[in-house]
């Protein structure tokens, strides 16, 4: 039946009926998921997230036309593979920001997206770059709700005291990423 489903997905894609294409993605800490709209990468789920819940929320918040269609995520998966192998220090993927709240939260994420590989900033600095230096707590919340972690590198934002702080993908994932980038 899987051949049948592949053919169905390809035809649906040709007809422009796949509002969200998704695929599994391997990370050194387990299997995650990447999902894209025609505009770009909209969601990256880390291995500690429950896939059914992630897909159910995408169906509710973006469109129920959600299909597994890895072909549309080849580029994202290739760049992530290269990143995890230490052969890539920036992503060149089109992004769809629609799952982040417009306003301060999205500005925090966009500012974070410009922090280069191997560097870190504090929550206060992230808040400042988003235009509100005193809102470091809100900056933490914004980063905690990052729909596209790793590609929007919220792991590069740490506490002022030098502790790495919270991470949606779990502290061991944050430590792993910062080590991979040589930042700790």
């Amino acid at each position: 039946m899987s051949e049948f489903v592949d053919r169905l997905a390809a035809r649906a894609n040709e007809e422009g009926l796949v509002d969200i294409a998704y695929a599994a993605v391997d990370t050194p800490l387990g299997t995650g998921l990447v999902a894209a709209t025609p505009k770009g990468l909209v969601r990256l789920a880390l291995p500690n997230e429950r896939i059914e819940e992630v897909l159910a929320r995408l169906a509710e918040e973006v469109s129920p036309r959600v299909l597994e269609f890895p072909a549309r995520l080849d580029e994202a998966r290739r760049e992530l593979d290269e990143y995890f192998e230490g052969r890539r220090d920036r992503f060149e993927l089109p992004l769809d920001w629609r799952l982040s709240h417009p306003g301060f939260y999205r500005r925090v994420l966009r500012a974070t997206a410009r922090v280069p590989f191997g560097e870190v900033i504090t929550y206060g600095e992230a808040a400042q770059r988003a235009g509100n230096p005193r809102a470091f707590r809100a900056a933490g919340t914004a980063l905690g709700s990052n729909p596209i972690p790793i590609v929007v590198p919220c792991h590069r934002v740490i506490r002022a005291g030098g502790e790495i702080g919270n991470y949606g993908g779990g502290p061991e994932m944050k430590r792993f990423l910062l080590r991979l980038e040589g930042a700790v």
Partner: protein, 175 residues
Amino acid sequence: MAHALPPFQAFLDEHLEPVGAFLRGMVGPNDAEDCLQETFLAALRAYPRAEPRNLRAWILTIARRKAIDHHRSRAGRAKPVAEPQELIDRQAGRVRSDSAAGALGMSTRHSEIWAAVAELPPSQRAAVVLRFAVDLRYRDVGEALGTSEEAARQSVHEALKKLRASAQQLKEMAR
């Protein structure tokens, strides 16, 4: 939200097999796959407007329309012979007093039954296939056909009567 639409992929994974069984019974194994593609593509087109409360009845209604379209487009040509071996095997695997073959007093391996099923009027054929190949209860057969439980029961009853008659004819022909 209590009744949000599931992601289409989950919907597809859940309904692919029963809808496939339904279409094999309706149009025969050779054409079932094309009909199945058309059914789920049509479903995907309309999916955002689907009523989440009864997606099974919804997809079976689409499948039934595709089967009818299929028969119309082939009207001038030879009739397909429905012989969904898989279904026959499934029936053979568990003895049920109310299975189509059992009700006809025939061995479940008689594929002639399925040829006879293909000769039934579309609504009766759909009712019989939903009841015995997809294994739905009468209430759900009715829902999928847009009729009452009682009407579904009646359709199946009428269909079985015709099938019994064909079985009798077959027996006589074999003498």
